[in-house]
Amino acid sequence: MDEEYDAIVLGTGLKECILSGMLSVSGKKVLHVDRNKYYGGESASITPLEELFTRYGAPAPDQSYGRGRDWNVDLIPKFLMANGSLVKLLIHTGVTKYLEFKCVEGSYVYKQGKISKVPVDQKEALASDLMGMFEKRRFRNFLVYVQDLQEDDPKTWKDLDPNVCTMQQVYDKFGLDKNTQDFTGHALALYRDDDYLNQNALQTIRRIKLYSDSLARYGKSPYLYPMYGLGELPQGFARLSAIYGGTYMLDKPIDEIVYENGKAVGVRSGSEIAKCKQVYCDPSYVPEKVKKTGQVIRCICLLDHTIPNTRDALSTQIIIPQKQVNRKSDIYVSLVSYTHQVAAKGWFVGMVSTTVETENPEAEIKPGLELLGPIRQKFVTVSDYYEPIDEGKESQVFISKSYDATTHFETTCLDVLDIFRRGTGTDFDFSAVKQNLGDEDQ
């Protein structure tokens, strides 16, 4: 460990592993350390099942749960958008070669106590039970408008300049009612709150287009999920980093970051000091440099059946838009199963999560839990959401934000790309990795 590195990365959560990979690919000498003996940190998948039960202080699982090591239970639930930024990162870095994915089977939205399939094209919209007949026609016109809209061709704008008008104005033009606005904004454009209504329409239109592009890639839903669980993702990026020369040390407690004149110059573990020019880490390694900005509640639910009313989908996402349950933020429900090698045969892992708004977070996720049917075992975590207090320019310590309540990785990627930019002063050059990887796999 007593060596000098360009960068030391602390923690092997997904964000840190992506950063480590990008830094190594960019030619930096990287040391990557975790205090745990497994990869993934907060975003690990826990195996075997006994380990998960121990973690939450529950008595050991009985026989009915099958072999413990057939389970890989994610601590943080998320899906990948098929056309989203994480998929782009995976493809452009070649990390996708280490992983296999499955398309999530269903995408549902909650309305007045019931769930309905999210309509994504005109055909589905016409068949949907979310809207009445006339509303369907209006929604169809809206979708056609979104699909046909070209940002650089005013003829397709229908007299509304999307660069200037708000999304509310667009909804009003098509006469969409509040319910339709609700699932469009939350289940298609994937906003977590309603601020977008009074913002410029173009970004919402882009999001809806991207939702349908993601959907177009694999069909059943716009979401993907990796075999063996999300914990495979950090491991994949860690391997990328190692292939480009990164050094890995797990099970290594970190005692402190060493500073000189306010600038990080190394990391100490026991009597060893590794020198470096920069430190990249998650909030848990620098409690004095982060502030708590909120809380997220996540409930892992082990089920021996699929979610009712989802046509027995073996994987699914359900969004409960805030207004439907008088909240400020949406509740997310996700389900994966033994077909993803994350549970023993016949078992399912459901997850309900949301941003905490009250003193009683468990009560807040009730509408989500009620959708799941009988739950065999429940594990609840309320975690604080941390953000760095500064940009890291002076200290050269670049800190990632905690994982938020969203059910996808888009904010994760934005954070990573932003940290990389702050740390290196440049955007990541994907071509650095492409050329080298080209010739190995003929």
């Binding site: 990869y39 099958g66 072999r67 090591r69 057939d70 056309n83 998929v87 995976l90 493809i91 070649g94 996708t96 070669k97 280490y98 992983l99 296999e100 994915f101 499955k102 398309c103 177009a216 890639r217 694999y218 993907l224 990796p226 075999m227 063996y228 495979e232 491991q235 994949g236 860690a238 391997r239 190692a242 292939i243 480009y244 020369g245 050094t247 890995y248 040390m249 797990l250 099970d251 290594k252 033994y338 077909t339 993803h340 090698q341 023993a344 045969k345 080298n436 990887l437 190995e440 796999d441 003929q442």
Partner: protein, 215 residues
């Protein structure tokens, strides 16, 4: 769940025109010669000062048997083993493994045994495991007796050879022995089952992905 990490994991390992593709991983203590064995097998080279192969996710090499061509996708640890920090993802889905130790280093033999246990616990039940006692050219500083290793291999149903990446002794032979032992038809049963995942590819056209992965 029978196929955890098994043949069915690999969408492209079907018997088609009698070409079978398998994922093979190398495991073992740092500096026993894993990368050197791969380099010898794939490129016919040996370097006294071997550095990790930077930038390669895996290397491929084929072995021709009488009626089948076996294509190995060979994964190196990329040095992650150095501080015992290898990610389990590395050996997931592997159909074959070579566990390497250095015959001049008893500790490395102990570490090899740990790997055998780990694979028996975690990897596919059908995985073909070979034990390689490398650096056989250094027999005069031998610390691990050939008989002892052979006995251990027999007990655990492993292929066993003493190899030398330096002189090329038994390098092709050990890969060939693995190729012979690998089940060539079993993939057919696993392939196409709903239990498979897909690899992601560039999205120039959405239809294109179909050819690259299972349905």
């Amino acid at each position: 769940m029978a196929n955890r990490g098994g043949a069915a994991q690999r969408p492209n390992s079907q018997t088609q025109g009698k070409i079978c593709q398998f994922k093979l991983v190398l495991l073992g203590e740092s500096a026993v010669g894993k990368s050197s064995l791969v380099l010898r097998f794939v490129k016919g080279q040996f370097h006294e000062y071997q550095e990790s192969t930077i930038g390669a996710a895996f290397l491929t090499q084929t072995v021709c048997l009488e009626d089948t061509t076996v294509k190995f996708e060979i994964w190196d640890t990329a040095g992650q083993e150095r501080y015992h920090s290898l990610a389990p993802m590395y050996y997931r889905g592997a159909q074959a493994a070579i566990i390497v130790y250095d015959i001049t280093n008893m500790d490395s033999f102990g570490r090899a045994k740990v790997w055998v246990k780990e694979l028996q616990r975690q990897a596919s039940p059908n995985i073909v495991i070979a034990l390689a006692g490398n650096k056989a050219d250094l027999a005069n500083s031998r610390a691990v007796e050939c008989d002892e290793a052979q006995a251990y291999a027999d007990e655990n149903g492993l292929l066993f050879m003493e190899t030398s990446a330096k002189t090329a002794k038994n390098v092709n032979e050990i890969f060939l022995a693995i190729a012979k032992k690998l089940p060539k038809n079993e993939q057919v049963s696993g392939a196409g089952s709903a239990n498979q995942g897909r690899r992601l590819v560039e999205s120039d056209s959405s239809a294109k992905t179909a050819g690259n992965c299972c349905k």
